[in-house]
């Protein structure tokens, strides 16, 4: 195990932000911390990164490296008046790391940024700042990276590029990555293990695939002539533009799809829809 946070509690006055939170992370896996806004995700990350102190509980990181853990909390905070080189130089220097030309090029290429760009970072897009923030977090090769809402504010291209980068870091460099988000779809394809945080408590944890599957309540079916289908009308489906939402209360999705084919409806996709209320809450679907 590379990181273990056990029985973490944190309060601000009478407000209990984290209640007995325990998470365990193993080398090379990607972990997702999911929960509604205000669930306590950022507070937990700040504690893991040592920015704030927990009231009670322990954190153990099994690493011999100079920098056991790195990360980005909320948005990447960089020196806007410095270039990418200037930022990397400052953050390398404070951890006694000499930023050679080779290391600079390597750091920039690793996160998909051009080492040639020499203007101030304040001109960068949010996606580029995220990448540079990640390059800084990766200085001195940490064993674990914590990313708080890394997809927030990124366009679909940026989200896709960051997905690939995170996967690469996990697969090729065996870095343990912990990501938080309140948007399930962002974590669904990325994470091996999910922790669900609700009102400061871990209420669910386990394989991301299993947790998401357990909390699928509806399917979105996309196709042609859906409005003509008798099966969908009987299933109380909600009709949208070229798609329908089918609830799984009394029916089996494979049976519905088979009947749709028999009716001659051309189905182009069938997407499971996670019930966020069920996933973020204590009840099961």
């Amino acid at each position: 195990m590379i990181l273990e946070a056990r029985n973490i509690n944190k309060s601000y006055g009478s407000l209990e932000v984290l209640k007995n939170v325990t998470i365990e992370c193993h080398k090379g896996n990607i972990y997702g911390l999911i929960g509604a806004n205000g669930a306590g995700k950022t507070t937990l990350f700040r504690i893991l990164l040592g920015l704030i102190k927990q009231d009670t509980g322990t954190i153990a990181i099994d690493s011999d490296g100079i920098k056991p853990i790195g990360g980005i909390v909320e948005k990447p905070a960089l020196y806007g008046y410095l270039s990418a080189y200037g930022n990397l130089k400052v953050f390398a220097q404070i951890q006694k790391l000499k930023l050679t030309k080779e290391l600079f090029n390597q750091s920039m290429n690793q996160v998909g940024l051009s080492p040639e760009r020499s203007d101030a970072v304040k001109n960068y897009s949010l996606g580029m700042k995220q990448r540079l923030g990640l390059a800084i977090a990766l200085l001195n090769n940490p064993d674990c990276i914590v990313l708080d809402e890394p997809f927030s504010g990124l366009d679909p291209m940026g989200i896709s590029a960051l997905h690939k980068l995170i996967k690469k870091l996990s697969n090729e460099h065996q870095i343990t990555i912990i990501i938080s988000s309140h948007i399930v779809s962002e974590l669904a394809d990325l994470c091996d293990i999910l922790y669900v945080l609700n009102d400061g408590e871990i209420i669910k944890s386990g394989s991301a695939m299993r947790l998401l599957k357990e909390n699928v309540a509806t399917y979105k079916i996309v196709g042609k002539n859906l409005e003509l289908s008798e099966v969908l009308k009987d299933a109380d489906a909600i009709f949208l533009n070229n798609s329908v939402l089918v609830s799984l209360k009394n029916i089996n999705i494979s049976e519905v799809l088979q009947k749709l084919v028999e009716e001659g409806v051309e189905v182009t996709s069938c997407i499971p829809q996670t019930d966020l209320k069920a996933l973020f809450g204590r009840e099961r679907v």
Binding site: L51, K67, I72, V73, E74, L78, G80, Q95, K96, G133
Partner: protein, 292 residues
């Protein structure tokens, strides 16, 4: 073996400090506000020189009007030494105010931009980080006073030439040109200790308040109150001698006919003690507080 490990640990700590100090210097050198600080000081200097150039002779005449009936004045009293003395008086308010604004910004800007979080996400010791800020702030203060002094001496002597210095301090005091030069140099040196005190206070205020505007307001109030308290007689020898605001005028003592060296040394040493105390308070608060 034990002492070897301790030695290695000390070496490691030393290199950490040097790395942090170098990165702080790099950041300051790249920030435009550093140039603004230097520009502000040169502008103040320029205004004093300009007003002296156009109105100085009239003011000198007014000041010495009564004495002219009894004494004969030879040479030009509106000379470089007088201009340097006038600019030296910006150590009362203008220079410490600019220093307090700029130096508190070294930390408040890190809180505003949240770069302090990124710094603390690296393997950096909080104690060394804030100590490096204090060290660089003191070095920056000395640099600003040096720039002020060098530019003042150079420009004033160049435009107004040399001459005897007349100063009104509990009466009119006259100093020969060479003596005036010596006193002015020492006044700048002594004044730099006062400037260090105000700089250290402003950085500690930044540690406590975090927000730039609040820190500027409190720093300005601190400076004004400190100057007001300096003039108040507390009718208590201990307070009158040991209270911090009573120690910030040591550089003025070089313009008494007999320089009270022991008083100047005492005041400066005690003010340095206050600076160290304020710095320790700032470091302890910073260390104890969460970064957010």
């Amino acid at each position: 073996m034990h002492s070897t490990n301790r030695f290695k640990s000390l070496i490691r700590q030393g290199t950490s400090m040097i790395s942090l100090i170098r990165s702080e210097i790099y950041k300051i050198s790249k920030q435009s506000k550093t140039l603004y600080a230097i520009a502000a000081i040169l502008i103040i200097e320029g205004f004093v020189i300009m007003s002296a150039y156009y109105q100085g002779a009239g003011i000198i005449d007014l000041l010495l009007d009564n004495l002219k009936d009894s004494f004969e004045f030879r040479g030009n009293l509106l000379n470089g030494n007088l201009i340097i003395y006038l600019i030296l008086n910006s150590l009362w308010f203008h220079i410490p105010l600019i220093l307090m604004i700029i130096i508190s910004g070294f930390l408040t800007s890190e809180y505003k931009d949240k770069t302090i979080e990124t710094v603390m996400l690296q393997p950096v010791n909080k104690f060394y980080f804030i100590l490096s800020k204090y060290i660089v702030s003191i070095a920056f203060t000395l640099l600003i006073v040096l720039i002020l002094a060098v530019s003042t001496f150079f420009i004033s002597y160049w435009i107004f030439g040399y001459g005897d210095l007349v100063v009104y301090l509990d009466g009119l005091n006259f100093f020969k040109s060479d003596d005036a030069f010596y006193r002015l140099i020492n006044a700048f040196l002594s004044g730099s200790i006062t400037m260090i005190f105000f700089s250290v206070v402003s950085l500690t205020l930044a540690v406590v308040l975090k927000d730039a505007t609040k820190t500027w307001i409190v720093a300005a109030i601190f400076l004004i109150c400190s100057n007001l308290l300096l003039k108040i007689d507390f009718n208590n020898d201990i307070i009158n001698e040991l209270f911090f605001s009573k120690l910030t005028d040591s550089w003025q003592y070089f313009f008494y006919y007999e320089i009270p060296y022991s008083t100047i040394y005492f005041k400066n040493l005690l003010l340095l003690g206050y600076s160290v105390l304020v710095m320790i308070i700032g470091i302890l608060i910073f260390k104890r507080r969460d970064i957010q």
